[in-house]
């Protein structure tokens, strides 16, 4: 058998549904699109004969008018919907697709969520036979809409397709029922002449019945490379919460702290169930028989669920054996928080990421709220776009490529002119607007998908293993090769090995002068553009500042708690004084690029490091009472000083008061009066000396009382924040066996100044056959049968080892980080078994900013 290739496996899965795709309108939802972007599926869908590849969330009746052959001989008859969500969530969109195209006779729905997954989901209305139930439901709803249309036959003179209906603005379908139109389909009217005689035998009294097929399509995930994958950000699996809200939980998108207590059946979060379903079906699709191991409470539940799904049938087949190790992200929160030397992580953190589709959340039925829907994880999509607008600069006005944005906007204005009812005035001057970055980004057309692997190009795989310096040199090498291939010469000045951003930029400019060359080399060009964004200011300095601060914290964590607390105070103070410094002098320094939110992330890192190095008690946290009080005071003061920059979840509800408090202060500063420098008491004294105006005195007292109340409220919130920090630092103390196991792994730490993550040490340990406390093996049904049977005869059975397999799968519940991927690849090559095939997956791809959002930001518990 060949080696494992996730991208090839995904493409093969699409080929297996080629019969459905041929001549069909293919509708993809946002999560499926992200997954298909990663594998470069667009050319394959065309090759399989897709009539059009459209957006499920923004379906339009005009989609049916698309045809690659321009024969327009017959209307569209088939649609294929591929969704990464529950059928109940996708239903209204599927129904709208059917309503938009009255000529559809067959609808195939492929969903990433299995049938058992649908019935197990708390919010799902379907039972164990979910797919058949949905087929019935969709057919009935379709016929209901058909009847509704037939009742309005008296309006048949009305044109059903006005220009307004064809807008692709999803917001227009907020009242989507009224937006569904049925054309006068001759198939639906048996009394009229039947132009499709060959299908007349299938006609029924009220028209041809819609044929619906629902199938499970498990291979909807996002491979970053052939052996690294994550789940789609806007799919149900990644969006379902991994933790219910309780004292041990940190975020809905992260598993809770492992305490050893088992989950009750009713308490299993939906994300856990769906993850088990996914891993089970992934192994089945890859034709792998799994030996399952887990590390962490949530991972243990997933392993158990997977075992419950297995059957005797699995054992008999000639499947390839693989080891699956499921790990809780919470066991190692430091690695994804660190700004380590991973070039991919750096680029991911610098590129702008769009907001996800929010319409799914709105669609939740408000009449029946449930705790699970409230805790849905909002993950920023990984469909990261690299803008190519830089290539079309005005510096080369004679280049025909520089005219491209203008031409595109002219076409779009013509395309949209049907929506404008009033007479169109002469075209605005696109020449200037075309080069306005803001306007161009609104179009969002001149870009490429950053995390994408298309035919023959494996740049991401190589970059995963590189730090910033090596990555830059590698991109330069690729650009040089591309220039040679295009027969362009580039003067290589300076040292041969050195690589600078301006050098990359010049090479990109040369490759982009011709549009054909630009398209041919788009992979390496967008890597160079992404590298340029990552290494320019202020992203570069911010990253360096983070790296420096984290190194200081790591070194200090080997000393005393007092030193660590002192460093944290300095960081918070630095962020405070830098803002004052900015306002005064408008100068920037390297250290000053960390904002208050950045420093909060550093504080999280500090508490985790303290928990690892100073395991004292649980209740009070790792720091002394005095140190923690001073830390809290600084945090409170920082929040009160700069409320406009604070957008944190634990301050929800206080934004207005904080904003109001900032306004008078700014007024005082603008007045630049001498009173501002005096203390409040002095101000009060002066106020009293103005006479016996009792009303003003009362107002002053009320204002003072309000300020004091706000400060008390902020302090209370900060106390809650520090309780969260205590949780972060107490992880090893909550489970003694697991804590000992994690501590024992420190023997694989080669250098105290270059720390390694948990996965690195874990893999080295298992490949060296060390026994790890807390690592649990989940025996299969047959294994249990054999064990119990053989046990009666007193025969022992040796415990399987994860490291014995030639194929290893590691799945991190909660997500993986690019630095971690690099470390894991290094672990395999460092170990005694470099021939092992390792697949690394996770719920999502995490950057340090993502970690902040999960714990304190928009994706955290409120």
């Amino acid at each position: 058998m060949g080696s494992v290739d996730l991208i090839a496996a995904c493409l093969d899965s699409i080929r297996q549904i080629g019969d459905e795709i041929a001549d069909a309108l293919v509708y993809l939802d946002a999560g499926t699109l992200e997954a298909f972007q990663f594998i470069g599926a667009f050319p394959l869908l065309l090759e399989l004969g897709a009539r059009a590849i459209c957006s499920l969330e923004n379906a339009s009746p005009l989609d049916a008018a698309a045809e690659w052959h321009s024969s327009f001989a017959h209307p569209a008859r088939k649609i294929v919907v591929i969704t990464s969500r529950l059928l109940s969530d996708a239903h209204r969109y599927i129904l709208r697709c059917l309503g938009n195209h009255g000529t559809i006779s067959h609808c195939t729905v492929l969903t990433a969520i299995s049938e058992v997954g649908h019935s197990a989901y708390v919010d799902s209305p379907f039972g164990p036979d979910a797919f058949r139930e949905y087929e019935t439901l969709l057919t009935q709803d379709h016929e209901e809409l058909l009847k509704k249309y037939e009742k309005s036959d008296e309006h048949k003179d009305t044109t059903f397709y006005t220009g307004k209906d064809f807008t692709s603005d999803g917001g227009r379908y907020s009242n989507w029922e009224s937006g569904v139109h049925y054309g006068s389909n001759s198939e639906s009217s048996p009394t009229k002449k039947d132009l499709f005689a060959d299908e007349s035998s299938q006609l029924e009294t009220k028209g041809k019945r819609l044929s619906v097929t629902v199938t499970h399509f498990p291979m909807i995930f996002s491979p970053i490379s052939s052996r690294t994958f994550v789940l789609p950000s806007e799919g149900t699996m990644a969006e379902s919460c991994l933790s219910n809200h309780h004292e041990d939980s940190l975020s809905p998108g992260l598993p809770p702290i492992s305490t050893g207590r088992s989950f009750d059946g009713d308490e299993i979060p939906p994300g856990v169930t769906l993850t088990a379903q996914f891993l089970y079906h992934l192994a089945s699709k890859m034709d792998l028989k799994l030996d399952i191991f887990s590390l962490g409470d949530t991972s243990k539940v997933i392993g158990k669920l997977m075992m419950d799904m297995s059957s005797l049938y699995d054992v008999g087949r000639n499947k390839r054996s693989a080891g699956l190790l499921i790990v809780d992200r919470t066991l190692d929160l430091l690695t994804p928080c660190f700004h380590g030397d991973s070039f991919l992580d750096r680029m991911l953190s610098s590129l702008t990421r769009k907001e996800g589709t929010s319409s799914y959340f709105v669609s939740k039925n408000p009449q029946t709220p449930s705790k699970h829907s409230e805790a849905t994880v909002k993950r920023i999509p990984l469909d990261i776009k690299v803008p190519f607008e830089k290539v079309f600069s005005k510096e080369e006005p004679k280049s025909r490529t520089s005219m491209l944005p203008e031409s595109i906007m002219s076409f779009v204005s013509g395309w949209n002119s049907a929506e404008v009812e009033s007479e169109v005035t002469w075209l605005p001057d696109y020449a200037d607007k075309a080069h306005d970055d803001k306007l161009s980004s609104q179009h969002g057309s001149l870009n490429g998908s950053f995390l994408s692997n298309y035919a023959g190009v494996c740049y991401l795989e190589s970059l995963l293993d590189r730090g910033a310096k090596d990555g830059l040199m590698l991109i330069k090498k690729w650009l040089m090769e591309a220039l040679q291939h295009e027969k362009l010469s580039f003067p290589s000045k300076g040292r041969q090995g050195a690589a600078s951003v301006s050098e990359l930029h010049s090479m990109v400019q040369m490759l982009s002068r011709d549009q054909l060359s630009l398209v041919r080399n788009r992979g390496v060009i967008q890597l160079a553009l992404a590298a340029e964004m990552a290494l320019q200011e202020p992203q570069s300095s911010r990253w360096d500042a983070f790296t420096s601060a984290e190194r200081i914290l790591s070194v200090t964590s080997a000393e005393t708690t007092q030193s660590l607390a002192s460093e944290l105070r300095d960081f918070i103070n630095t962020s405070t004084s830098v803002e004052s410094h900015k306002q005064a002098n408008k100068t920037e320094s390297s250290q000053g690029l960390l904002s208050f939110q950045d420093v909060l992330l550093l504080t999280i890192i500090g508490y985790i490091l303290a928990g690892e190095n100073f395991p004292t008690s649980i209740a009070g946290g790792p720091f002394s009472w005095e140190d923690e009080r001073s830390l809290k005071d600084i945090v409170v003061d920082s929040i009160l000083d700069r409320p406009s920059s604070v957008k944190l979840r634990f301050l929800v509800g206080l934004e207005n008061e904080l904003e109001a408090k900032a306004r008078p202060k700014d007024g005082d500063k603008s007045n630049d009066s001498i009173e501002a420098s005096k203390s409040t008491d002095d101000f009060d004294d002066q106020w009293d000396s103005w006479g016996d105006d009792d009303d003003n005195t009362d107002d002053q007292k009320d204002e003072a009382y309000g300020d004091m109340q706000l400060k008390l409220e902020v302090r209370d919130r900060v106390d809650q924040l520090f309780k969260f920090f205590h949780n972060l630092s107490s992880m090893r103390l909550r489970n003694q066996t697991l804590g000992e196991g994690l501590a024992a792994l420190s023997r694989f730490e080669t250098d105290i100044y270059s720390r390694k993550g948990l996965l690195y040490k874990l893999l080295l340990a298992v490949l060296a056959r060390y026994d790890i406390p807390g690592l649990e093996y989940h025996s299969s049904a047959v294994g249990r049968l054999f064990k119990s049977g053989l046990g009666r005869f007193g025969l022992g059975q040796s415990k399987p080892s994860f490291g014995d397999q030639s194929i290893l799968i590691v799945f991190v519940v909660g997500g993986i980080n690019a630095l971690e991927v690099r470390e894991v690849m290094k672990a395999i090559s460092d170990s005694s078994r470099p021939d092992v095939e390792l697949i690394l997956g996770g719920t999502t791809l995490l950057t340090p900013d993502d970690m902040f959002e999960l714990m304190l930001g928009s994706s955290s518990f409120s």
Binding site: S70, F72, S413, E423, V424, G456
Partner: protein, 429 residues
Amino acid sequence: SQLRVYALQLMQCITGRNLKSLPNELVSQVEPWELWYEPGTGSSVADDNNSPSSSITGTLVALRSTQMITTVLPNANITPNNLGTLDSAVSCFLHLSESASSVETIAVMEAVLEEWEQLFSSKEEYVPPQESPKETNDWSDDWDDGWEALPEELESPTKKHGRTSLSVDPLHTCWMEIIRKLVELGEPHKVIELLDRASSRNSMLIEDDEANRLLELISAMEPLMALKIMLLLPYETTRLRCLQMVEAKMREGTVSTSSNADDHELLALVLSSGVLQRIVTEVEYSKLFSHICHLVGHLARSSQNDLLVKWNDEANAPGTSKTNKSLLFARVLFPSFISELVLRGQYLLAGFVISRWMHTHPSLGLMDVAEASVRRYLNGQIVQAQQLGGTDVFLTDNELSVSHALSTLRSNLVSLVQAALATLPNQDL
């Protein structure tokens, strides 16, 4: 008068030198008199050359012309002497046109001029044989060829296979007068129809100088209308002047676009004349190119709307003129536009336009889909063009004035698409 015309037509048949306008029943019933043909060859040619007015052909043409012109100009009279020389014919025509003040009158004068064309264009054929005795034999061969080709001409009178090279019409001065009249009457569309019909005959109605004067005459009108007229004439310098004029006016913002919303004709002429190649590649014409892109966007959306309505139409009636316009755009104009973009290196623009046309998921980046989309679309056009070998109804029944330009585009489409495909990179990338 009727009897006289009939007698002359009968005599024309007997001589064997038939004119296009002879009734078919006469031609089919009357056989040429061979005796007249054989001994009279030399003398007939001599007579025609020396004094065309005395020939039967000249008399017949003059009589028919008078017959037509008196329907709108009762006092007009055209004598065989008027048609004796090119100069006298031009003089006569210009004199008559002084009284022409309506579109109907000009239409009749167009018909008269087409009658005269036979007379003066056939005159050229007789000049070379007089040079040398050897040429006489060639002349005889030509005559035999003409004789054998007679049935073809009768079967399809609009198609003349005799000559393929372009030549200026001898009566270009008269045509210029007609065009000037139409412009003054505010009927530029009829000028377009006239020039398009002429191009189907490989004939140039006016000279280069006259084209320049025409440009000055119509530049005060709508610039885009002027551009359409100039694109129907093959004079490169005049085209360039017109392009520059249109571009300048567009930059000033003085070009009205309300009446150009559904301008299939402009797009067809820009494509068939080859001027798109210049517009795409030269930055000096960026405004005009933007307008073309806007036009393509508008027509693309409109044609898809029309096709969608047609599919859902209850009656499912045969294609109306509107539907035929949409099919024309979708099958001929749009593929031609895309192919030209690809050939001129506007690869990403072609990819973007195709993505919109195919309603590709808006979240897919242009860089990711451009290559596959362009290739898939161009391959699809070749498949479609090869399958539909029959008659294209939408080419003729669409109310457009540039039918010949459209036919040219249609016949060249496959080779154009194949040329564009050849520029794509190897798929192994």
